[in-house]
């Protein structure tokens, strides 16, 4: 990994998983930024024991805001490329180099997609399928997994698709903006570890994401 490659890990109330998630990443690189999004548990304290770059939002703003904070801070550290990874331990840090390899190939943005398996809840699989279809129709981007937070992009790509969403709809807005700006993208398979079955996008969230997609379609 280059010195200008930075990993950004947003987190909210992840005291149970963040220590392992950070350790995992530190085996690959020291260029890690943890953004504690106003957690009410000891996420920040645990992160500070392991990581040099821990930022904290005084109040919870949402994943989109946390990612933006991480990226802006990373740019101040001289970052030219970013890898986004979740703090709940669902993503394996050993796959970070794979994302960077795809950026080396000339891609502006790389999306991780969760391989379908029996462990993935049915509602997630169905929801993912519907959202992928909607995104393809609206933005002509073909993705197998529209809600995975494991992604990588260049600084130039970030400047072009800078999102306004502060919550989880950032995942969709990133895709929508990438489609509108015709960024070069690729998808790579990732392993996923599910700790909490009830965590993640609900049906209600899915409907909201679809409405957000329509909004992004007609927004400049």
């Amino acid at each position: 990994m280059k010195n200008t490659d930075w990993v950004i890990m947003p987190g909210y109330n992840e005291e149970n998983h963040i220590a392992n998630a950070i350790s995992d990443v530190l085996k690959i690189t020291n260029n890690l930024i943890v953004v504690d999004d106003g957690s009410i548990d000891v996420t920040e304290e645990i992160a500070k024991k392991k990581c040099n770059h821990v930022l904290r939002h005084k109040i919870n703003l949402g994943k989109g805001a946390a990612l933006k904070t991480g990226v802006e801070y990373a740019i101040k550290q001289g970052a030219k490329r970013f890898v986004f990874i979740d703090s709940d331990g669902q993503h394996e840090a050993k796959e970070i180099p794979e994302f960077l390899k795809k950026l080396d190939s000339g891609n502006d943005i790389v999306f991780g997609y969760r391989k379908l398996n029996k462990k993935m809840p049915f509602t997630f699989r169905l929801g993912n399928f519907v959202l992928s279809l909607v995104i393809f129709i609206l933005f002509h981007i073909k993705l197998q997994d529209t809600q995975s937070g494991y992604r990588a992009m260049t600084k130039e790509a970030f400047e072009r698709i800078k999102w306004k969403s502060s919550d989880y709809s950032v995942e969709s807005e990133m895709i929508a903006n990438a489609g509108k700006k015709k960024l070069k993208y690729e998808e790579i398979p990732i392993n996923t570890i599910y700790h909490d079955v009830n965590k993640g996008t609900t049906v209600f969230n899915g409907l909201k994401i679809m409405l957000d997609m329509l909004k992004h379609k007609f927004k400049h």
Partner: protein, 126 residues
Amino acid sequence: MNILGIQLIGIIFGIIFTFFTYINIKKDKLKVIDGTMWIIVWLLLTLVSINPMIINFIAVDIFKMSRALDFIIISSFMLMFAVLYYMYLVVKNTEKRVETLVRNIAIEQNSKKQVTNKKPKTTKRK
């Protein structure tokens, strides 16, 4: 002119709130333009309380409504929705400003910490 009890209440209400609004403008708690808008509302209320037939004239003669009460209800709803929309815009704008503020604080606090950590430690000569 006979003034009914309810008219008197309306007149007193309008005068009191006109006065409060004026005080809030003087204390800079309310912008002049916002305060003036509210004063107009209270003065209109006072005027209608003094002469309720104004409503009848506006509702029946101008807008051709059958009842003055219909006019009052419809215009009240329209005014409430307008105020609601305005409040919605204010809240959305405030949300954005809070987000920017919180993110900037997070970045600046850590940037200061990084600068402090990088300062060379001075050692005393023996």
